[in-house]
């Protein structure tokens, strides 16, 4: 969601270059050459890694892209995988189904072995079946979809690197119920699959724990006013708000203005972005709680803090959960290839099902696939009081694994 360019002058220069190259490319006609999709073999050739995210348009997913780039740079600098440098190919799928499909097809036709991408359901729904059919190993970033083994379009080559949303929701509910000891909650959510999938799960968890759900409301993506929604939440001792950063910020401001500024206001990893972008005045962030796979900014592990600094220096951007997941996805690919000892995709997938990764991972402390190809089952609860991210609670695989089983 967040993206930053190193410096704008360079960006604009590049823009001119881009215009030219665009014309040249239009002249050269072909939209992308065919590559060799090598199933099997893998005798001394580099690992071809695809990074498929939305780079263009008003919703860009640059943090993932940067995370992936960063990992590839570091790994290659350290000698690569099996003595071969990783060959990174980046594709733009512009957050729309048709472009996701064509980007996936392009990646496949250019012979990627492992592809990392699909942070949203739109992208994943369109692309996952294509990778699956082509036998490409797919490290998926969408927390809200059903993608995983033996779901309708997942399969033996599809793995999920981020914590499934149902498990995040389980953790969040646990926290509010056990730690905050809420009696009444109000549920808000974005009126897309993101919020729509989440709210029923929350309602379920809270009702099971005998917590009263005051109201559950969805708001539009371009909401310019959330007075309605917040007024409906009056009387709650906590608000769950499953939205994207700008609506979450709007909700926070409105809550504050309507005298609900002091009750916990819990959201997804978007809260981290609200904090880093300062979408809410710093004095109004005390009630903000973020639910995320991880948050490097609040992570106490020294190697993560040190990594976050390097990342900041490299991209002039705060390393967030997305960046960390992107980074780890590459580490997973590397580990799998090394374990497989070849670039045979079947073997890579096989290795992913068995390996356990806990060295220099920046998001999860440990990645270990379960029988549904979910590699991560950890979640953290972050407080953003005074704008300083602080870890309130951390939920481990032991506590979360499988809590989202029936969901998707």
């Amino acid at each position: 969601m967040a993206d930053r360019f190193a410096n704008r002058k360079r960006a604009l220069k590049a823009g001119v270059g881009a215009l030219l190259s665009a014309i040249v490319c239009a002249a050269c006609g072909n939209g992308g050459g065919t590559g060799t999709a090598a199933e099997g073999d893998g005798a001394n050739r580099p690992l071809v890694l695809g990074s498929v995210f939305a780079l263009t348009g008003p919703q860009s997913q640059a943090p993932y892209v940067n995370g992936v780039r960063f990992a590839v740079e570091e790994i290659n600098a350290a000698g690569g995988v099996n003595g071969q440098k990783i060959e990174l190919k980046e594709y733009d799928d512009a957050l729309n189904a048709q472009k996701s499909a064509s980007a996936a097809q392009l990646a496949v036709s250019e012979g990627v072995d492992v592809v990392i991408g699909g942070p949203t359901a739109i992208q994943t729904n369109a692309a996952a079946p294509i990778y699956q059919r082509a036998g490409v190993v797919h490290l998926n970033m969408a927390s809200s979809t059903a993608v995983a083994k033996d779901e309708s379009f997942g399969g033996d080559r599809t793995f999920r690197v981020v914590t499934p949303m149902p498990e995040q929701i389980h953790a969040a509910a646990e926290y509010l119920i056990k730690e905050v000891k809420v009696k009444k909650v109000g549920l808000l959510g974005l009126n897309t699959d993101f919020g729509q999938n989440a709210l029923p799960l929350y309602a379920e968890k809270f009702q099971a724990a005998g917590v009263e759900v005051i109201d559950s409301k969805l708001y539009p993506q371009d909401a310019k006013d959330l007075t309605n929604e917040l007024l409906a939440m009056r009387g709650a001792d906590a608000i769950v708000d499953w939205g994207f950063p700008n609506q979450f910020a709007l909700a926070t401001k409105t809550a504050y203005q309507n005298g609900m500024g002091d009750i916990p206001h819990l959201g997804p990893s978007a809260v981290g972005i609200v904090n880093t972008l300062g979408l809410v005045p710093v004095e109004n962030r005390d009630s903000l709680i973020g639910m995320s796979s991880c948050d490097p900014a609040a992570d106490t592990r020294p190697h993560v803090q040190e990594w976050a600094k390097r990342f900041q220096a490299r991209f002039d951007a705060v390393a967030d959960a997305s960046a960390a997941s992107g980074y780890d996805a590459v580490q997973l690919a590397k580990a799998a290839v090394e374990a497989a000892g070849s670039l045979d995709r079947a073997k890579i997938a096989e290795a992913l099902t068995t390996l356990t990764l806990s060295q220099n991972t920046m998001c999860a402390s440990t990645y270990k696939s379960d029988d549904r190809h979910e590699l991560m089952h950890e979640a953290v609860v972050i407080s953003y009081a005074k704008g300083e991210p602080k870890e309130l609670a951390r939920y481990t695989a032991a506590e979360l694994a499988g809590t989202g089983r029936k969901q998707g």
């Binding site: 823009g15 190259s21 239009a26 939209g31 733009d92 512009a94 499909a101 729904n125 999938n197 029923p200």
Partner: protein, 354 residues
Amino acid sequence: MLASDRRTGTAAPGRRRAAAVGGLPPVYGRRHYLTVAVVLAVIALAGAGNTGNMYQISVFNTALTASVATVGLYFAYQLGGMFAFSQAAFMGIGAYTSAILTPEHGFVFAAGVALIVAAVLAYLLAFLLRDAKHMYFAIGAMAFAEIAVLVFRNWEVTAGPTGGGMLYGIAPPSVAGYEFATSGQIFWFLLAVLGVVLLLSVLLERSPLRRHALAVKAIPQVTESNGIDPRRSAMTLFTYGSTLGALAGVLQAHSLGTIAPEAFEVGVAINLYLMLLLGGVGSMWGGVAGAFFLTWLPEFLRPVKEYETVVYSLLLLATIVLFPNGIVGGVAWLAEKVRHRRRGGRSSGVTTHA
């Protein structure tokens, strides 16, 4: 039907173009069927060359789907004079209806129902807005589109308020037991559908409907005092065009395998308009040309990464300004120039309304 055209000698290609053949006005003498054949042949050749490359083919499929929608737009907007900002919404109506019905009743039946549903809704909308002209109709259609998208998003039937209106794992098209599973097979299926659409559209081009529509668009009052109901042709053509939109939606849903409300927002309709405008609003061929041009353009622009949006819209503006009659218009103009030279300056009266 084609046979009957031929019997009256109106279809025979190779006759002097634009001649009053068999006693009918020149439009019946135009080489429509030849053009359809050529268009299909070109696409087929270009596609067949790439059936090996799934990426190229998938882009072709997107373009073919878009072509169906833009041809529909040509009839609703250019002939019917209705500012059809609802085209993407009708794509959605088609896509959801057939995606939902297919598992139970199979592709063909589902698609059929989808088209009927869309046609009925389109006619009702046209009837509701029958007195609204130009911008007024545009905004009305836009409002309809917004409502449609909200319905996709919030209605239980369309994976409503708990699934984001997102459907996936939609079966590929299958006709008479034969399933078009791979992108390559889908390409040929889409091409065939486009062919049918073009032929059907040619039949409308070569009929009183076109004449009436053009007249109504020009001076409605006068057609009325000549005994032609100015609303009738417009509503017919809007319905036809929107139904083609729905057909495009059906094709998209089953060739992509997934649909989401975002894919049918007004922005998409605007894009369809740009396709028609760039291709040449003067004829349905313009729709096809524009669809292919605007589908490939972003693919060409892939290397441009984050500058795509701005480069894209600048290129658009440039094309709109430089080619008022779009690609087809430009080509026709060139062809005319060449013919001019060859025949020592005798114009053969080609207009961009080819």
